[in-house]
């Protein structure tokens, strides 16, 4: 049993996230209970124990994507430590705050855990190695330049004398950091680029890994919350007395003006009482909103005069108006829930002078801000202790659930309260993939060549809900992911003679959020499927059409060519099998996919095989990249086949995996991954492949059936041959 004692040190050990041993003044009663730790910290990233154990510190969060292992590869590449002696610990945002943000950004989203950390974590490893070598050289009274370090052993080359890292760590920790910290050239790497096994697999095969929902503390109670099912709605009244006597029930509390929670000894007692609790909700105006209202609003935006421009050159409208032939199509993409396997949860101890939380979060620093605000305390009197996530996918970059947990715990001072959402609450109180539509219009000349393309997006803006300060004169730049004229993050891979991509912002009362792949998910479908439509309408091969438009985009083209070659594009597929292809750039990486599918006489789709190519510049761990590509297909194909949340009377209708089905084993195709890093840049891998999953399959469905699916998901659509 993973019972937790009262000291903060043991709390975090039990949580599987050993976060101790910093040379910082402890704050607050819990912190003072932590024993002083004399283990030498070489620098913020590297701790070396006397017995040579190496502890590497993590600011980014592990949620299954392999970032822990990749970060260790990068630090160890420069540290020259013994890989078998490495373990990791999460630093807390409070510790980082106290040290002038020594660990940089904690945000683990946007496929940036590796690429945005790579420079400073490698320098952290290199600086620590230099200091360890200096310490050894000083002990020997020799020039550090005559010493080398390998596998945690320093050798004085002329004499062959050796010292272990653990033997000199204490002295190294007292040295000043080196002024110059040169890094290896990529050709010198021995760890970066290797498919080393993950550091964290074993405990996931025995049930030992402790997630947030598994935490236990002495005297802990469990809260199960429920918010007004209508977004923006309020609690009118509730009758706590009706459930106060039920088994295990300790408290019934209100959360802000929008929710209630039952606090009991166990989850099941709290949930049972919550289900029995009479609550009157006031949904307000929003309770009248239906899905059809939202759809109509988006449709109106497709033809609206006003729109924010994302990418424009030439005069697309004029070119289309003057073209002898025009093709037009309207696409749509629905709300979706992140549905990570572990529902939202957080464990909180609140006192009038201190608030500590233990939770799975994708952004420790944002979690600290949320905690402090909800606790009514300065950040210096709060901290966030992280545990590994049971899935994130963007949901855990925002902290509405944590705020609720703090507001609940605040009503029971000094008592650890673990707030756990039911799956039903997780489904109806999500932060959803934004809903959009797009009208695609192409003007064609007499030869069928595109003279102008207009892509009008209509729908929800994430930034206007999440970070309104980041809007640019009202425009949401994130809306145009993968459609930008250039840049290193998400540039369009085609050159059109005239182009206009614009966005009519049509927000809804349903809160949108970053959802693995974000706006690439629909943008890639809109563009890649419409280009496929143009190809078929003009009797061109879809690959050949793309190649004509991609002459100025060699990296986009290279991944597209790679999947075309591997799948055998141009040769006959097996009988009854049809192919589709798509490419996109996002999160700094270039990806493409080619799918082989069949549709039987009953209209049943079978995805047999998908080939995916990724150019992420530098491939830190190719096996991890393969796993992320496979995972991206699970997420992207789940969205394509099943993912849809709808609104009725202002609330989300789907409440669990029976009404919100997701991809399962039998639907999963074979995946062949081509990792083709071209060097010179660092791209992400956690998300990019999602963007090409759906369009490659949709284009193959058209090839198989002659049916162009423009509204997702395809679960309710008739795929029988037209």
């Amino acid at each position: 049993m993973n019972h937790i004692r009262t000291s903060r040190r043991s709390l975090m050990q039990a949580a599987g996230a050993l976060v101790v041993g910093f040379h910082i003044a402890p704050r607050g009663a819990l912190a003072q209970a932590a024993p002083a730790n004399a283990t030498p910290e070489i620098n913020a990233w590297v701790v070396i124990h006397p017995d040579d154990r190496v502890v590497l510190r993590m600011a980014r969060t592990e949620m299954g994507q392999g970032t822990r292992t990749g970060l260790c590869q990068m630090i160890a590449e420069e540290l020259h430590c013994d890989w078998s002696k490495i373990s990791t610990e999460y630093v807390t945002p409070g510790q980082s705050l106290a040290r002038n943000r020594a660990w940089g950004n904690f945000l683990t989203a946007g496929s940036q855990g590796i690429r945005q950390s790579q420079d400073y974590v490698r320098r952290g490893g290199a600086a620590a190695r230099i200091m360890l070598v200096q310490a050894a050289a000083a002990r020997w009274g020799v020039d550090a330049a005559t010493c080398t370090a390998k596998d945690s052993v320093i050798t004085h080359t002329p004499t062959g004398r050796t010292l272990r890292y653990g033997e000199v760590a204490g002295e190294a920790a007292r040295l000043s950091p080196p002024a110059q910290v040169p890094l290896k050239e990529p050709r010198e790497w021995t760890l970066i680029g290797q498919s080393v096994p993950r550091l964290d697999t074993a405990d996931k095969t025995t049930g030992k890994l402790i997630y947030g929902s598994d935490l236990k503390m002495p005297g802990m109670l469990v809260a199960v919350p429920r918010r007004c099912p209508v977004f923006g709605g309020k609690v009118r009244s509730f009758d706590a007395a009706r459930v106060a006597g039920m088994p295990g029930v300790k408290h019934v509390v209100q959360i802000g003006d929008y929710g209630v929670a039952v606090i009991a000894d166990t989850f099941w007692q709290a949930k049972t009482a919550l289900d029995a609790l009479p609550v009157q909700w006031d949904g307000g105006e929003n309770a009248r909103i239906q899905q059809a209202d939202i759809n109509a609003r988006l449709t109106e935006g497709l033809n609206a005069t006003e729109a924010f421009v994302g990418n424009s050159h030439g005069d697309a409208r004029a070119a289309i108006a003057a073209a002898p032939r025009k093709i037009e199509a309207v696409y749509s993409y629905p709300f979706q829930n992140h549905a990570p396997m572990e529902p939202m949860n957080a464990t909180v101890v609140w006192t009038p002078t201190r608030c500590d939380v233990w939770c799975p979060t994708q952004n420790g620093e944002a979690a600290l801000v949320a905690t402090a605000q909800a606790a009514g305390l300065p950040q210096t009197q709060c901290d966030v202790h992280r545990v590994d996530l049971g899935g994130g996918f963007g949901r855990r970059t925002t902290h509405d659930w944590l705020i609720d947990a703090v507001l609940i715990a605040k009503q029971v001072p000094g008592v650890p309260i673990k707030t756990m959402w039911t799956r039903e609450e997780d489904m109806v109180q999500g932060r959803y993939h934004p809903i959009t539509k797009a009208k695609m219009t192409a003007g064609l000349d007499a030869n069928g060549e595109i003279t102008g393309l207009h892509m009008r997006i209509s729908g929800q803006s994430i930034l206007s809900f999440v970070f309104p300060n980041a809007l640019q004169n009202g425009r949401d730049p994130v809306q145009f992911q993968g459609l930008n004229a250039g840049g290193t993050e998400g540039a369009i891979g085609y050159t059109f003679p005239n182009l206009l991509i614009d966005h009519a912002m049509r927000n809804t009362h349903v809160p949108p959020h970053f959802w693995r792949g974000v706006n690439h998910n629909q943008n890639a479908i809109y563009l890649e499927c419409f280009l496929d439509e143009v190809a078929h309408a003009t009797n061109q091969d879809p690959l050949a059409l793309r190649r004509k438009l991609m002459a100025n985009h060699p990296k986009h083209l290279a991944v597209l060519n790679a999947v075309a070659e591997r799948i055998g594009w141009g040769s006959a597929p097996p009988a009854g099998v049809f192919r589709g292809i798509a490419q996109q750039m996002g999160f700094g990486s270039y990806v493409a996919a080619a799918a082989e599918i069949s549709v039987n006489a009953q209209g049943q789709l079978k995805i047999h095989r998908i080939v995916a190519a990724t150019d992420c510049g530098v491939a830190v761990n190719p096996k991890q990249i393969e796993m992320q590509v496979e995972g991206s297909f699970v997420y992207g194909l789940s969205a394509l086949l099943h993912g849809e949340c709808t609104v009725k009377d202002g609330a989300i209708e789907q409440t669990n995996f029976d009404s919100y089905p997701v991809l399962r084993m039998e639907e999963m195709p074979k995946v062949e991954t081509i990792v083709m890093p071209s060097g010179g840049f660092w791209g992400g891998v956690g998300e990019p492949t999602i963007m090409v999953a759906a369009p490659a399959v949709l284009n193959a469905i058209f090839a198989a059936t002659g049916k162009r699916i423009r509204d997702l998901p395809i679960k309710d659509q008739d795929l029988r041959r037209a």
Binding site: M1, K204, F267, W268, V634
Partner: protein, 152 residues
């Protein structure tokens, strides 16, 4: 007071008979390897063996289980974490976030006990657990790998 036979040990559980077995195991027996993912027997994260049969423990109540029925959880699958499925899982780095993996492993172990050399179709039929990270293909490979090991 109800009695459960969990991982070879008889444990007294002081909980209401309508408590799902999942919550009896997690909150009363104190074994948290068995996960709550949906509560409606859809996702399989709570899969345990009940007399050898893979069972979604959120879907049956404490009161419906007798002391003579043998419950095995992920913690009791093998004494040292070396069940062939667990070994294969580590060799292939199957888990990503890992939250669904206790249930995946229990379902896979039950499949192998019933069918030592399962086909892909057998795996599709038996492995209906939900994974959101995307481990399905490695789960399949892991089962085949463990099966090869078992049959020498």
């Amino acid at each position: 007071m109800a009695k459960l036979n969990v991982n070879g040990r008889v444990v007294e559980v002081n909980a209401s008979p309508d408590t799902p077995l999942l919550w009896a195991i997690r909150d009363h027996v104190g074994l948290t390897g068995t996960k709550y993912g949906c509560g409606v027997a859809q996702c399989g994260a709570c899969t345990v063996h009940l007399d050898g049969v893979p069972t979604r423990s959120c879907g049956i109540t404490l009161g419906s289980v007798t002391e003579t029925q043998k419950i095995v959880t992920i913690e009791g699958l093998s004494p040292d974490g070396n069940h062939p499925i667990q070994v294969a899982w580590r060799a292939l780095d199957v888990p990503q976030c890992g939250f669904c993996q206790s249930g995946m492993i229990m379902a896979a172990a039950a499949l192998l006990a019933e069918k030592p050399r399962p086909t892909d179709e057998d795996i599709d039929a038996a492995m209906t657990n939900i994974c959101r990270c995307g481990t399905y293909n490695r789960v399949r490979e892991g089962i085949h790998r463990a099966a090869r090991g078992l049959s020498g």
